[in-house]
C-alpha cells in the first residue's frame, strides 16, 4: 500500500489547527492586552470547526479533492 496525496480539507484542518510549533506568547505584541489578530483568525477558525461539527463540510471536502494542492 502506498501513501496518497489525495487529501481532504479535514486532513489539512486537523493538522493546521492545534498542532505545530509553539511560540512564546509574550513575543506577540498585543493591543490592549489581547493578541487581536490571532483572536480574529481564531474566531473564523472556530466557525469552521462548528461547521465541521454540524457536518456542513461535504462540499468543501469535494472541492479540495478536485483542485488539490499537489
Amino acid at each position: 500500500m502506498e501513501p496518497t496525496r489525495d487529501i481532504t480539507l479535514s486532513d489539512v484542518l486537523n493538522r493546521l489547527l492545534d498542532k505545530g510549533l509553539v511560540i512564546n506568547a509574550d513575543i506577540i505584541i498585543t493591543v490592549a492586552g489581547i493578541p487581536l489578530v490571532c483572536v480574529a483568525l481564531r474566531a473564523v477558525v472556530a466557525g469552521i470547526e462548528t461547521m465541521l461539527d454540524y457536518g456542513m463540510m461535504e462540499d468543501w471536502d469535494r472541492r479540495i479533492r478536485e483542485g488539490q494542492v499537489k
Binding site: T4, V12, L16, L21, I23, V31, V37
Partner: protein, 261 residues
Amino acid sequence: MEKPTASAPAELQGLRGTYLYCVAEGDVDPPFAAAGLEGKEVYAIEYMGLVAIACDCPPSRVEDAARVEKWMIAHQSVVDKAMERFGAVLPFGFGRIIAGDSGGNRVREWLESSHGILKRKLERVRGKAEYGVQVFWDQEIMTRRLMRDNQRIEGLRKEGEEKRGGTAFMHEIKLEKVIKEDLAARANECFRFLYRGVSELCEVKVERVYGSAEGGRMIANISCLLKDTQIKALGEILEKVNDEEGIYVRFTGPWPPYSFV
C-alpha cells in the same frame, strides 16, 4: 443555521504583523521564494543558521470561512515548498502572527532564545516526514461477517428461533449484546495489531479526532514519523489490515511533521 462569520474589530484595520509558516535550517542563497496568504511574498528571517519562513500579515478584515480555507491551503503549500527546499522543517500551525511592525526583529530574538530547542527538534524530524493512517470500519459488513462466521453466535441465533414471547425477547437482547461485544473486541484487536506493528517501525502519535466517511466510521487515526526507506514496510502492515473485508485503510502523506514538533 446562520453561517458563522467573523470580521476584525475596528482597531485591527491597519495593524501590521508577521505571519509565520515554519522554521528550517540552511542556506537562503538562492533566496527562498513562494506565494503565501493572499499571494503575499514569502521571505526568510535568519539567525545563526536557523531560518523562519514568514510573510507580511494579510489584511485583517476576515470576511468568510471560504477565504480562510484558501489561506489554510496557502499555508500548507508554503510549508510543503519549504520542506522540499530545506529538508527538515518545523511547521507552525495556522494563524501564528506576530503583531506589529518589528516582527522580523522579534522573530530573530525568538530564534536566538530558542536556538538549542529548535536545533534538537529539527534533528528529530530530519530525513523523515509525517504520514497519516486512518482505519475505517463498515459496521454492516462486519456484523454480517460475524453472524456468518462465528459459531457461538450462530448457535445463539438458532437457540432464539425456538423461543417465544418474553423469553424470545430476552434472548434477542442477549444476542445483540454478544454481537456488540464481539464486534468491539474485533475493532480493538484491529487497532492493537496496527499500533503494535507501526510503533515497532517508527514514532507514532494517536490522534484524538475521529470521524467517518464512505467506508464507515474511524476506528484508528494515527500519525507516523517515517523515513522514505520505511514506507514500504509500513505499507505492508497496512495492506494486511486493509485486506480484511469491511475494513479500509487510508494512508496519506508525506506531510510536514505538524504532529512531531
